[in-house]
């Protein structure tokens, strides 16, 4: 069991309101990702759920019981920190054993759990090493192991992959997803990387300045963003925003079109411009096009498109993929 319900939760540090009252429901077994730019309050929100920060107002319910004032240990949640927070003077085995020892578990049962966790996480050969002798990815796995053995009702991840290099990050992403599928425990995952959010989440919570902008599945957010912020934040490369004549033609204050939903043409099109830098990735080509009115537009074209710097091209948005926004930035 691992359902979490936040009602009217808010947090202020002194006079600064970091999180205005918000409601959120997380169902049992869900993989929820909190995503947003840095300073949007996503880590604070996670720490509120963990019990590492006190609520200013509101209530938190875990598995139907009120946990607003419960200590972190009593909430039955396990957390993986950004810095891994391993205990440096203890071996890997002792690190993983620590929560069990604190819970006063019988050592035979504890050993069984440690060995099982080590097997799942490929740590069996490293159990007697100290954290300082491990690589970043291994430390990350130890931190996860320490969380798993407690059999918590939910896992909390605070930007766990941000200290890893790109290749390892992709690997660990898969491992965590895999883990979620095998354990089927609720996971709450905080990241500023929308790619991680899109690839891992069942449900994404987009935060901005402490407010929840939108909650939904990755594809929902991609296809139907409720406002300009979500539209610009989700998807890579970023959505292009155009205002002026072409927006008015569509009865909107501004329109947004994703780079992958623009057709390139050599002869005619709605917009014309000159090609700036083009990034050839092989499978795709990212074009930075300077329109005639001076604005920049990113285009994601297929990899076999051959264009030169300074070449004149025309762009056509795919009409059914155009997002329209009103003056307040909300979707129409």
């Amino acid at each position: 069991m691992g359902s979490i319900k936040l009602s009217k939760v808010s947090k202020s540090f002194g006079d600064v309101e970091v999180i205005p009252p918000l409601d959120l429901e997380i169902n049992d077994g869900e993989f929820v990702v909190f995503v947003g730019p840095s300073g949007c309050g996503k880590s604070t929100l996670l720490r509120l759920i963990a019990g590492l920060e006190d609520l200013t107002s509101g209530a938190i319910e875990i598995d139907g019981t009120d946990a607003t004032n419960a200590t972190p240990a009593k909430r039955g949640l396990a957390m993986v920190f950004q810095s891994y927070a391993l205990y440096p003077h203890m071996s890997v085995r002792k690190n993983i054993n620590f929560p069990l020892k604190m819970a006063g578990m019988d050592q035979a049962e504890a050993d069984k759990r440690i060995n099982a966790a080590a097997k799942v996480l490929n740590l069996t050969d490293y159990l007697d090493r100290r954290p300082g002798q491990l690589s970043g990815g291994q430390r990350q796995r130890v931190a996860i192991g320490r969380a798993i053995v407690r059999e918590p009702s939910a896992f909390l991840f605070d930007e766990p992959l941000s200290n890893l290099d790109a290749a390892l990050r992709v690997n660990m992403r898969l491992e965590i997803c895999d883990l979620h599928k095998t354990l089927t425990t609720t996971m709450i995952y905080v990241t500023h990387d929308q790619v991680e959010a899109m690839t891992m989440a069942d449900k994404i919570v987009v935060l901005h300045d402490g407010y929840i902008e939108q909650v939904g599945s990755p594809l929902e957010l991609y296809e139907r963003p409720v406002n300009k912020f979500v539209a610009g934040f989700i998807g890579s490369p970023k959505m292009n925003f155009v205002s002026g004549a072409s927006a008015q033609k569509r009865n909107a204050d501004s329109i947004g079109i994703r780079p992958e939903h623009l057709d390139v043409s050599a002869e005619s099109g709605e917009w014309s411009g000159t090609v700036g830098v083009s990034e050839h990735l092989g499978s795709d080509t990212f074009l930075h096009v300077k329109l005639d009115d001076g604005s920049m537009i990113n285009v994601r074209a297929s990899g076999d498109l051959k264009v030169e710097y300074g070449e004149k091209i025309f762009l056509n948005p795919q009409e059914d993929r155009v997002h329209k926004f009103d003056a307040q930035g909300l979707s129409i």
Binding site: A50, G51, L52, T71, P72, A73, L77, A78, M79, F81, Q82, S83, A85, L86, Y87, P88, H89, M90, F98, P99, M102, A103, R146, R150
Partner: protein, 288 residues
């Protein structure tokens, strides 16, 4: 710095400093060794020639020798225990966010800036004096007979004075160590269900091990040679005669330089024995 030329240049330029430091150490050491084998009584005929190992056997054979070694070790041990234990507690308290933190920290450090002679005098006259001292007032207030600190509890008094002086040093070093502990580790332990005592025992104390080692080593070096506090308070009476105080008495009060020098050599040996034991016990914390 790899070429032959730059290496010899470096050696040449470092030579003055090295020679000065070597001389600084070697000259007094050689003189002490030299005098320890001479019968040298400045006011009773001066250098009276070769004495062999006489000074050594007389110094160690004196009835004051073993008690002075014991007094030295008791004072060093007592002060170390008090400063480390209280230092850890104070460091943990000072690490908490509180109002007026800066001023409190300066106040805590203050005793370290007071000269040993001055602090010993302040303690002797203002706190421990059986007639006018603050402690005497407290005792009288509760209807008890004032303690004559420096004669009845001389050892404890000296340990108290010296601890008061060295507590700021221990607190300061331990506070910086406490502050360098990753707060996420403590939070992780909190989530793991560790109580404050478990967090202290399993996380904070191991983290402090290296700082404690440094405090113990540095303090031992200085505490083996404390002198002013004893000179000002008990004058070596009531069982507070340490080895360094005994040497002082032999050289200046008995005017026997040869005997005192032999004591000095014993003091070097004692310091090295203590150092070896300390390195065995705590030195491994400095690795890694």
């Amino acid at each position: 710095m790899a070429t032959q030329q730059s290496r010899s240049a470096a050696r040449l330029m470092m030579a003055p400093a090295v020679i000065l430091l070597l001389g600084w150490m070697l000259v007094p050491l050689t003189m002490t060794l030299w005098f320890s084998f001479r019968k040298y009584l400045p006011l009773r005929g001066g250098d009276l020639g070769w004495a062999g190992f006489d000074n050594y056997t007389r110094f160690i054979g004196s009835s004051s020798f073993w008690p002075s070694v014991q007094a030295t070790l008791v004072i060093v041990g007592g002060v170390l225990i008090i400063t480390v234990v209280l230092g850890i507690i104070l460091a943990l308290l000072l690490d908490q966010p509180m109002w007026g933190q800066g001023i409190v920290r300066i106040l805590v450090i203050a005793p370290f800036f007071v000269m040993p002679t001055v602090s010993a005098l302040v303690w002797k006259n203002m706190f421990m004096d059986p007639v006018n001292g603050l402690f005497a007032y407290v005792w009288k207030f509760f209807g008890a007979a004032p303690v004559e600190w420096l004669s009845q509890a001389s050892m404890q008094s000296i340990i108290m004075i010296v601890s008061w002086q060295w507590l700021p040093f221990a607190t300061l070093i331990l506070l910086t160590a406490v502050q360098s502990l990753d707060s996420e580790q403590l939070e992780a332990a909190e989530m793991d269900g560790a109580s404050f005592l478990s967090r202290f025992w399993y996380l904070i104390l191991p983290h402090l091990a290296r700082a404690i080692t440094i405090v113990v080593l540095i303090q031992t070096i200085f505490l083996l040679s404390i002198f002013a506090e004893i000179f000002v308070t008990t004058g070596g009476a009531f069982g507070t005669k340490t080895l360094s105080y005994l040497i002082f008495q032999r050289v200046l009060e008995s005017q026997n330089v040869g005997l005192g020098s032999a004591g000095g050599v014993y003091a070097i040996i004692l310091a090295n024995i203590v150092a070896i034991f300390l390195m065995r016990i705590v030195g491994k914390n400095l690795d890694a």
